[in-house]
Amino acid sequence: MAQMNLLHAINNALDIAMAENDRTVCFGEDVGHFGGVFRATSGLQDKYGKTRCFNTPLVEQGIIGFANGLAAQGSVAIAEIQFADYIFPAFDQIVNESAKFRYRSGNEFDVGKLTIRTPYGGGIAGGLYHSQSPEAYFAHTPGLKVVVPRNPYQAKGLLLASIRDDNPVVFFEPKRLYRASVGEVPEEDYQLPLGKAEVVQEGSDITLLAWGAQMEINEKAAELAANDGISCEIVDLRTILPWDIETVCQSVMKTGRLLVSQEAPLTAGFASEIAATVQSECFLHLESPIARVCGLDTPYPLALEKEYISDHLKVYEAIKASVNY
């Protein structure tokens, strides 16, 4: 075991993936010698050469179009989009191409060897174009897998699983935690399962569900609630698409209450999808309405970021409201 921050864990996973297969290629804006603006690909060009780890021109639709072709050819394509806020020029290539490659060809061709890494989320004073959480757009697209890790251990295991999974994966990295989150990470190869949620802490009064950076918000809120004698079950969804309905519903049937928190705006966020499914699957077990604690339905602010975000105090209040309903 070694102490790693989330960036080191990502870098370590990429290193393992490149070492095990000489057809693995990493690329994106500033990804080469510089190692990416967050340094996630640091040292990879020196180790594996310019052909396998390189800078691309500033053209997100080109990066993903290129990645689709490369993956269809049989290479393992790991593309970086510098910020999730800038993934939208590539939306067509992801939604109409990556996601539908296998289906539309009757499995003649696929881009299962594609992984798109991109930093997402707020809390870094990034304003509206360096803070967004666009996972719900991609969750609405059959054919994609959407994965979000909460800490370094999860990041390494889930990224290796995403790279090796035979489907295109959009891997959202919580950039607020890149250096802030440090933990024990095995140096050897391991994988964590996609499509599986994890019960991080057992409890009996309410289920708190989140993913990525929002997990530590829920954990903090659960500590506050514990002081009030409320027992929270904390669940990390980990994979947004396809999501683990079974684990979530089992937890809700046990606790009778569900709170979902997300950084993204409330309306049509993934929390809404979860709420719809859970009310249909667990209707007679619910003791209070499903609570969603989310960002406001506004662009991500700058000066008023603290007021905007679904922080631990907002989650704490929502826990009490749910339990005392």
């Binding site: 057809r23 179009g65 309905i245």
Partner: protein
């Protein structure tokens, strides 16, 4: 105006031209773009022309492909008019571009197309049955009946399945070719698109990345004058598409797209260059879409009969026929037999394929992922129960699972 060469500060940021001290604009007229022509319409060769590598067997294979293309298009447009087929896209008058391109490649080269390049797939040997099964979206379609007619694809023949969004294949071709290069394969990727699709952002993305990332890809623009109803002069102001290649630092060649020998020659030299130099090439083939964009539009609403007549005189298939007749490799009797035989074969194939069952209901959820998820399985079960309840409303699948 005085000019001098050699400024004092060397720069790696751009190639220096002459220095001037009075402002001057440059424009497209600074670049003259030659157009390669080898074959006259009457079948004679331009006297100083560099011939492509071609022998009798190769020429006859190309000609038979062109004939098959013409007949299939005619018959399928007619089938659509009879209501047997939902949709079709013919390539009347520009068949030499797709067939000639494919004929200049090797079987291991990847072909990525827009949608009007069925000629390349025919050249690769896609069977008449495979064409028909795709067109009728039946259970034998390689694409499992999921895409509209003409969205062909074949892994075995290295022909990427067509996708409707325009231009998306262009950066993909760059990535595919890059993978071929990394593996050191004796293979390139050819990427077809129209002059209209070249307005998409993916065109810029794909060409610029191919130049920078040094990918052995042949970009093949079929400039046929129209994007549905929009003529090329409402699509761009520059000198065709070839002028853009220069801006990306890509070796570029313009050819007469109705001259099969010019197309073949350009593709052969492009392949050799791309492979040897690990660099892209842009070919612009000048042609004209004599037919409609698809069976869903009527060109008489946006262009004149006189304009079409000018191009009818440039028929690429007749031009090739004139050449092989002159070579003594072909005669009129063979020609009649070929076309008549093809018409009968196509007609017979329509009658078979249109009667084949639609794909099984289980294919609703396959190939979304490598394995269907539990959610998808549950959704399929719900659909099946519903179909069983109202079988008369779902005749394709009721009673078949």
């Amino acid at each position: 105006m005085t000019t001098e060469k050699s400024p004092e500060i060397p720069s790696e940021l751009y190639e220096k031209g002459p220095v001037v001290h009075q402002p001057v604009f440059i424009d497209g007229s600074s670049v003259d773009i030659p157009e390669l022509k080898i074959l006259h319409q009457d079948g004679t060769i331009y006297p100083d022309a560099d011939m492509p590598e071609i022998d009798e067997a190769h020429a006859i294979k190309i000609y038979k492909t062109l004939a098959f293309h013409r007949v299939l298009d005619e018959r399928m447009v007619a089938s659509q008019r009879q209501g047997r087929l939902s949709f079709y896209m013919a390539a009347l008058g520009e068949e030499a571009a797709s067939v000639g391109g494919a004929a200049g490649l090797k079987p291991q080269d990847m072909i990525m197309t827009q949608y009007r390049e069925q000629g390349a797939l025919m050249y690769r040997g896609f069977s008449l049955e495979n064409f028909m099964n795709q067109l009728f979206s039946n259970e034998k379609d390689l694409g499992k009946g999921r895409q509209m007619p003409i969205h062909y694809g074949s892994k075995e023949l290295n022909y990427l399945t067509v996708s409707s969004p325009l231009g998306t294949q262009i950066p993909q071709a760059t990535g595919y070719a890059y993978g071929q290069k990394v593996q050191g394969l004796d293979a390139v990727t050819i990427c077809y698109f129209g002059e209209g699709a070249a307005s998409e952002g993916d065109f810029h993305a794909g060409l610029n990345m191919a130049a920078v990332q040094e990918a052995p890809v042949i970009f093949f623009c079929r400039n046929n004058g129209y994007a549905i109803s929009t003529p090329a002069d409402e699509q761009f102001k520059g000198n065709g598409i070839a002028s853009r290649g220069v801006g990306y630092g890509i070796k570029t060649i313009r050819v007469d797209g109705n001259d099969i020998l010019a197309v073949l020659k350009a593709t052969q030299i492009a392949r050799a260059y791309a492979l040897k130099e690990n660099a892209p090439v842009l070919i612009e083939a000048m042609s004209y879409r004599l037919g409609a964009h698809s069976t869903s539009d009527d060109p008489s609403g946006y262009r004149t009969r006189e304009e079409e007549e000018k191009w009818q005189a440039n028929d690429p298939i007749l031009r090739m026929k004139n050449w092989i007749l002159a070579q003594g490799w072909w005669d009129e009797e063979q020609d009649n037999t070929l076309f008549e035989g093809l018409r009968e074969e196509v007609l017979a194939a329509v009658k078979v394929s249109e009667k084949i069952d639609k794909p099984h209901i289980d294919t609703l959820i396959t190939d979304v992922y490598d394995e269907p998820t539990s959610q998808l399985k549950a959704q399929l079960d719900e659909v099946k129960a519903h179909v069983n309840k109202y079988p008369e409303a779902y005749p394709f699948t009721a009673g078949k699972f």
